[in-house]
């Protein structure tokens, strides 16, 4: 599983990011100032660094300038959406940026994009089901399960955002696309089929008023 370093001086924001990323299966470490971050980067390897620009000690921009984060993808966290800051960040080699305040799903989506190559190599095993993301293949007790493209995409979305409830609307938007004009019942029907085919009745949970959540123990 990918390892992420969160460098953010505000404890609550740091916790927030860490908790959100942990729940979908990432391993998170926290740093609250630039110096600590530099130290941690030196001592261990991370697959992604989420870096606040305004930091006590060494600032986020300085950390980038000093090439401390070389070889690691960096997503900058900024409070202001100033163009200059963003451009400088990209010039210094940041992979992406996210502006505070951000939504949880946006954060996850950006992290997912940054870690795409890494994640794809992963095979996710839930109960007796193995999901091979790279091959778009699902095996149940070693036997390949026959899923339609939509069913597979739905499963993949739920797996990527595991442990997080996704609304029917969100799922429609992600899996079926913006243009799709069907109603949310379509989602319910596909969820039912997935549950049946994979024996996921207690894995894909219906969350009251929120939507569906694929639950995996952390």
């Amino acid at each position: 599983m990918a390892k992420i370093l969160i460098v953010e001086d505000d404890k609550s924001i740091n916790d927030l990011i860490a908790m959100n990323l942990s729940i979908i299966g990432y391993e998170c470490e926290k740093a609250f100032d630039g110096n600590a971050a530099a130290e941690m980067i030196k001592n261990s390897r991370y697959d992604l660094i989420l870096l606040d620009i305004m930091l006590p000690g060494i600032s986020g921009i300085d950390l980038l300038k000093q090439n401390t984060c070389e070889n690691t993808k960096v997503i900058l966290i900024t409070a202001k959406g100033g163009l200059n800051d963003k451009l400088e960040a990209f010039n210094l080699g940041a992979f992406d940026y996210i502006v505070k305040p951000f939504e949880m799903l946006e954060l996850i989506a950006r992290v997912k994009v940054a870690l795409k190559n890494f994640d794809v190599n992963e095979n996710i095993i839930i109960k007796d089901v193995e999901i091979r993301l790279r091959e778009h293949k699902v095996l149940k007790s070693g036997q390949e399960v026959d899923l339609t493209i939509l069913e597979y995409n739905l499963l993949e979305t739920l797996v990527i955002n595991r442990n997080i409830a996704l609304s029917r609307e969100k799922l429609l938007e992600v899996v079926w696309g913006y243009d799709f004009e069907g109603d949310t019942r379509t989602v319910d029907v596909h969820i039912m089929k997935l549950r049946k085919k994979l024996g996921f009745d207690d894995v894909i949970k219906t969350v009251y008023k929120m939507g569906y959540r694929l639950e995996v123990s952390q």
Binding site: M19, I23, K100, M104
Partner: protein, 444 residues
């Protein structure tokens, strides 16, 4: 209509009316005198003619002629013929009207009727003389007069126009200049040419412009200040809001453990508190008014015991020794605000202090002031930041502030409170040695 045109019109009208009345009276007077004289002449002439006729008749009688009415009439006829050449018409009448004078204004005649003496008292002589020529003269005179005063009026209007225009020139200049200043929004002032009313007005106008500019500056400054406050406030609200929003979303969506749920809830609670404090301080800063102050005599021991109670937990956590030296038993202030002030100051000191250090608070009298001194052995403030620390949202040490997460309103609020008490607040600080704050309050 502009005042100058009004002035010209009124003056010319007044002139015409006055001249008209005066001239009318004069001409009338002159005419009536003229007619009086004409009547007198006519009367004399008539008397002469009557006497002649009577004498003629008496002569005839004396020479043995017939002396009767017909004789008289024939004599009158003779005279009549003769006087026609002199524009006098004579006639006789049977009405015995004595000395009657008519003036026939339509035809321009004077008519006089008079009775002959005895024995011809039944016959009267009617004398008629034209004064048409005088009438014509008068008419000519009148039309001449009208021409003259029309001409005079025009001349008067022109002269008045010139004079008034000249007089009004500074006023026009003033208007013109004012227009320029309004349109170009320039900082120019109106040149003062004369010391007359317009000059005075210009001076006043300049003073007004100065005042206006000054006020504009103040308004601009305060609006910039307000904008800045608002920007900062928005910025300060963003982090707690992100946190609250994020954690609540987490709670709604995530399949979280009970432990994680508690962490999220704690954060939400803390951030909500932070927002509340920010709001309270901001509200206090914006709305605290001198009128709402309730200044009373405060017991120093009680006040500082309260402060100690409020700060107890934090002092204990940091193992800080809060030493209070009371040399003035009483001081004056609004109890609530003084508590806010002192808590803020002690809070700041604790934030700046190292573990296991000391904070000293002194209260004493000096001259007619009560001085409260709060000093710590903390990290101190950079000299470049010292002048700014009372500014709202100013954070001298970004590292520390981030950890203690104040919005940077504490000292602004302290300053405001002290100012409302007509006191002063000063700061002395040395980097890494410590900071001392002096609050000086009036001791009524």
């Amino acid at each position: 209509m502009k005042i100058k045109y009004k002035l010209i019109l009124i003056t010319v009208l007044f002139f015409i009316v006055t001249i008209n009345i005066v001239a009318g009276i004069a001409i009338n007077q002159y005419n009536s005198l003229f007619i009086q004289r004409e009547i007198k002449t006519a009367k004399n002439e008539m008397n002469f003619i009557m006497n002649s006729i009577e004498n003629y008749a008496k002569d005839l009688q004396a020479r043995g002629g017939i002396y009767n009415k017909d004789t008289l009439i024939s004599i009158i006829e003779i005279y009549k013929k003769y006087y026609i050449s002199q524009d006098i018409s004579l006639d006789y009448s049977d009405d015995n009207m004595e000395n009657n004078v008519f003036i026939d204004t339509e035809e321009g005649n004077i008519i006089i009727q008079s009775i002959f003496s005895e024995p011809f008292e039944s016959i009267s002589l009617v004398f008629k003389k034209s004064f048409q020529d005088i009438y014509d003269l008068q008419k000519n005179w009148n039309s001449f007069f009208i021409k003259i005063y029309l001409l005079l009026s025009i001349i008067l209007a022109i002269v008045l126009m010139l004079i008034i225009s000249r007089l009004f020139k500074p006023l026009d200049n003033l208007i013109h200049k004012t227009d320029e200043i309004i349109i170009e929004n320039s900082n120019e002032r109106i040149p003062i040419i004369d010391n007359d009313e317009v000059g005075e007005l210009s001076t006043k106008f300049n003073i007004m412009l100065d005042l206006l500019n000054e006020n504009m500056e103040t308004i601009k400054e305060s609006s910039i200040q307000k904008q800045w406050l608002l920007d900062n406030l928005t910025h300060e609200m963003r982090t707690p809001l992100t946190s609250i929003q994020g954690f609540s979303e987490y709670l709604m969506r995530a399949n979280a453990s009970e432990e994680d749920k508690l962490v999220a809830l704690t954060h939400i609670n803390e951030e909500a508190n932070r927002l509340k404090q920010l709001g309270d301080k901001m509200f206090a800063l914006m709305t605290l008014k001198k009128e709402s102050l309730n200044i009373v005599k405060l017991n120093s021991y009680e006040v500082f015991n309260t402060i100690r109670r409020i700060e107890f937990q934090r002092l204990k956590e940091m193992n800080i020794d809060l030493k209070v030296n009371i040399q003035a038993d009483y001081f004056y202030g609004d109890e609530q605000l003084i508590l806010v002030l002192l808590t803020n100051l002690v809070d700041n000191s604790i934030n700046a202090s190292k573990y296991n250090s000391r904070i000293e608070v002194d209260i004493y009298s000096k001259d007619d002031k009560n001085i409260i001194k709060v000093s710590d052995e903390g990290q101190g403030i950079d000299s470049k930041d010292l002048s700014n620390i009372f500014q709202p949202f100013y954070k001298a040490d970004k590292n520390r502030s981030a950890i203690y997460r104040g919005a940077g309103l504490g000292l602004s609020l302290c300053k405001k409170i002290v100012e409302l008490h007509d006191g002063s607040i000063e700061v002395e600080s040395q980097k890494d040695i410590g900071t001392t704050i002096y609050v000086s309050l009036k001791s009524i």
